[in-house]
């Protein structure tokens, strides 16, 4: 692991990606100690103050400290999307390995179902589910995990088909090994690098998706400090008080860029080239 990190950090883009990701994770964990104000504390005498020595990033329409809200703003999004990314990678990865190994009609029919899901406008579908089941992490996490897991499945299944054609898998089948040992002992170790990269990529996309949901009013609920929600609440003030929108955007973008650069660097360090991977 240390060797992998060292390889990642040896390239500027990898170091930047790793640095940004670790910075945001640290910020999320240490937010209560870093933020100078309660992120939900309203102040009628400090509405829309421009950035100053007390409020480094200014204040919002309810007089709340934007810096404190930005520092706290990634906590929910990171927690929700990381959990969902793990779910997506686990179920999508396992199903992809299974179908890529089994092949045949089971694989053929299953992929048509996968194609059907991939053709869905997932954001609209997610909005429909949330409007029925209600907003909140308990609804959003399994749904993000499911929808993004479908894409993971597609990519991993392609890679699994290549691995399953290799000699050591053929030899294992010839030895009469059961399916489960083949999946876990032969296939999984040879696909774990792809799973890692896919998981990181989907995590960054989920962050964007969760922030989009919050922006639309279906993700985080007030007064939770959340980047997407902050942009939604302050978006009407871009020309008079842009700091309320600017800083959450910077925070969200830098985390997404960081994770993407990190995923790229991990892929390269493991000998995968995302540029030639199947885009889904």
């Amino acid at each position: 692991m240390l060797k992998l990190l060292a390889t990642i950090a040896s390239k500027p883009s990898g170091a930047l990606g790793l640095g940004l990701t670790l910075f945001h994770l640290a910020l999320a964990v240490l937010a209560p100690w870093i933020a100078p104000f309660d992120p939900t504390a309203q102040n009628a005498d400090a509405i829309l103050l421009a950035p100053n020595a007390t409020h480094l990033m200014g204040t919002d329409t309810l007089g709340r400290d934007v810096f404190s809200r930005v520092v706290h703003g990634g906590r929910l999004a990171i927690a929700v999307t990381f959990t969902a990314a793990v779910i997506a990678t686990l179920w999508g990865g396992f199903a992809g390995i299974f179908f890529g190994t089994v092949g045949g009609r089971v694989d053929e029919y299953s992929m048509r179902i996968v194609d059907a899901f991939l053709s869905m406008p997932w954001l609209l579908f997610l909005l429909l589910i949330i409007s029925i089941g209600g907003a909140g992490p308990l609804t959003i996490i399994p749904n993000l995990g499911f929808f993004y897991g479908v894409a993971v499945l597609r990519v991993v299944r392609g890679a699994a088909m290549q691995v399953s054609a290799r000699d050591f898998v053929t030899a294992a089948k010839a030895r009469g090994e059961a399916l489960w040992p083949i999946l876990t002992r032969e296939m999984f170790p040879n696909l774990s690098d792809i799973l890692l990269v896919e998981g990181a990529m989907r995590w960054s996309w989920m962050l964007l998706a969760f922030s989009s949901l919050s922006f639309l009013g279906f993700g985080a609920t007030p007064p939770t400090p959340d980047w997407g929600l902050m942009v939604a609440q302050e978006r009407g003030l871009l020309s008079t008080a842009p700091w309320g929108v600017f800083w959450p955007c910077v925070a969200l973008s830098s985390l997404i860029i960081g994770i993407n650069l990190l995923a790229d660097a991990v892929g390269k360090a493991l000998g995968l080239d995302r540029a030639t991977a199947v885009a889904v």
Partner: protein
Amino acid sequence: MKKPLLLTAAIAMASSAATAETLRIPHELGYGGSESIDPISPQRFYEAIQNVYSRLVRQGEDGRPSADLALEWSATPDAKEWTFKLRPGVTFHNGNAFTAEDVAFSLMRTQSETIDSPTKGVMEVIDHVEVVDELTAKVVLKQTHADFPLLVMDYRIKMLDAETCNGDLDALCESGIGTGPFQLVDYDPLGTTTLKRFGNYYGGTVGTENMELIAIADQDARVAALQAGQIDFIYALSAEQVPLFEGNPNFTVQSVPTGRWVGLVMNTQTEPFNDPRVRKAIRMSADRDALGKLVYGKDGYITSCDHPVWSGDQYRTEIDCARDIEGAKALLAEAGYAEGLTVELFVSDISEGAVKMAEVLQNQAKDAGIKIELVPAPSDGYWGDVWMKEAFFATGWSQRPADQILNEAYRSTAAWNETAWNSGDFDAKLDAARAELDFDKRKALYGELQKELWETGGSFIPVHLNTVRAFSSKLSGIEAVEDFSIRYEDVVKAGSGS
């Protein structure tokens, strides 16, 4: 190359002239496209009905009724019979003459059980309408009502053509035929509804040739549209939106004290709000001045104590409703919530500041042990899907006189009784106030009703709003009056042919 250039220039000039002749007003799409052109429909399309139809009387500069389709009115000494003398020579958009028959039809249909108009509860005071002659209508009331003309000043009590509506008192009339300054050309509440100047308007020449009512559901989108020159006018700017237009020579900003209010509603028949102690505890937890300042800016509001009678109304009663956290906690403990109370509040961007108000109350109420969980709801269709359906939700009302708003929102039989307020004693006092001919005694009765709402009602009305509107500097003739009293017929757009 010359031809296409000339053609392009000609098209551009024609387009520019057409824009100059057209007043473009945003329409809030509050009923998600199911708006009705019938003024008494529960889904009334008020931006359209305001311009297509006229009232018997309208609000004058002093807030009292002034002449519109009725030139003068008088009452018998017991105020049970009101006679209206109508303006002669008025015609509907289809050429039919406006007569006392139309007055009788338009007033009596407000009581229809089938239509179930939100005006029904208020207008049920009418027993019948007698047509004395072509231009004289006598309204006979079931009971004395000293302020009856205030009721017909309502923005929905418009005069319809009885013939076009087939004289059917129990059916919606969606012909769009009125006597107003503009006549309907194209009805499309989901897109752009088009009106054109009515040549025979009794009020004289109408300032602009056309009016477009453009559906834009989101307030930020409306602001952007005004900035981009896609519309000419916008209602109800929030405190933080005002700086976008203030000081900009391309726009005029108007601030007007009004009786408009945005509030939160607790259904008094649903747990836990069926306990008046819970309702009052929530109200007592609010710091109204801080809330007003946070949500509407320091000049954007006047504090109120959970009754809908605004500061400019002759019947307003001042109440002390200072924040009392200990008192709120005590009431909650009495009601069985000593360990705290958690409630869900449904909010949407349906009226300016509604979501922010909910956020501020959420923050203030937690000091009293009340946890308010906000449930965001889409603004599209909010009035049909959430309002009066959930137990705790946001609302918004335009300005109405004391008698009308108290009857329309709190009489047990009213269609828009949003708090499900069911007090026979309250209804009896409403009747008593109407019957009282002595002003001071009448004022005292209305005062008791306001105090009762503060003590036990289901509304949270922390402030009444100053309305702030912005419009293109090309427009002139917009008086600093509340929204429903704007005379769009007097509005002129620079560059138009008028």
